[in-house]
Symmetry: C2
Subunit: 129 residues, 2 copies
DNA sequence: ATCAACGTTCCAGTATGGTGGAAGGTCAAG
DNA sequence: CTTGACCTTCCACCATACTGGAACGTTGAT
């Protein structure tokens, strides 16, 4: 199948597919005599996997690692487990950071609602921040 | 004061200060006869404000807006209030998104711990994802 | 034969907040 | 007079996942 078909079948764009290829996520596809990429039809599964990996919050680089292990003929199970638990730890950190930031912003915001703007000194930028 | 002094006094670098200037966050400073930037000493407060704005999760562009209002001789109170409440909404969105993602990753990870890797079919990339 | 719709490569830009380095000018101490 | 620490400008690059566009070749239908 040609690149446009594949893009249609997977809900991506030809641009994105060429980008994935340049990023090392796709095996180099064979070409037709005129130079068009000619993908085997099971490539849709590979693209679908990439999308699922992205919705799981993995980066393209991490998804690439998994694909490379599989392409090398091995089962990527162990690596996937460690990527997922790593990602889980990162998420916990990010969530904790954002919650702390939310606290900060929340209290700045509350203060900005209660303090009189008239009390604003012109020699500083902003009393709320 | 010269740029290195200012950088030292505020815990930034000369690179960063020149970057802030190019980003429009700093008033154009006077120069010495030899072409060195010569900052008024209250510039440290401006830099400190920028840092506080960043720890409140504001972008440099948003911090710039506040500074411009103040530089224009007006009190930025109203704008600051709206920036903070906007930021609060964004944070709530981001946190909700991350929590949902955490759920997804969590269940994928649990599955990866219980399912037998031996059940791994070689014709798909990874059963966990 | 011509036209649209597809394909190709390559280069550049998006947003964010800087960082690194080259090539050169200035200043104070020894 | 030279050395080292400072300053100047400018251009390029980091990560991330694409996107836009130019310039040109191919395919299939009318």
């Amino acid at each position: 199948m040609r690149i446009g078909e594949l893009a249609n079948a997977t809900g991506t764009t030809t641009k994105t597919l060429r980008f994935y290829e340049s990023a090392g996520l796709m095996p180099i596809p064979p070409r037709t005599s005129s130079g068009y990429r000619d993908y085997p039809s099971d490539t849709v599964h590979r693209i679908a996997f990439i999308r699922r990996g992205q919705s799981a919050g993995l980066t393209l680089a991490q998804i690439g690692e998994i694909l490379h292990i599989r392409d090398g003929g091995n089962a990527p199970c162990a690596h996937v487990k460690s990527l997922l638990s790593e990602r889980l730890k990162e998420l916990d950190h990010q969530i904790a950071d954002l919650l702390a930031l939310r606290e900060t912003v929340q209290s700045l915001h509350s203060a900005s609602l209660t303090i009189e703007p008239a009390a604003c000194a012109p020699n500083q930028v902003c009393q709320y921040i």
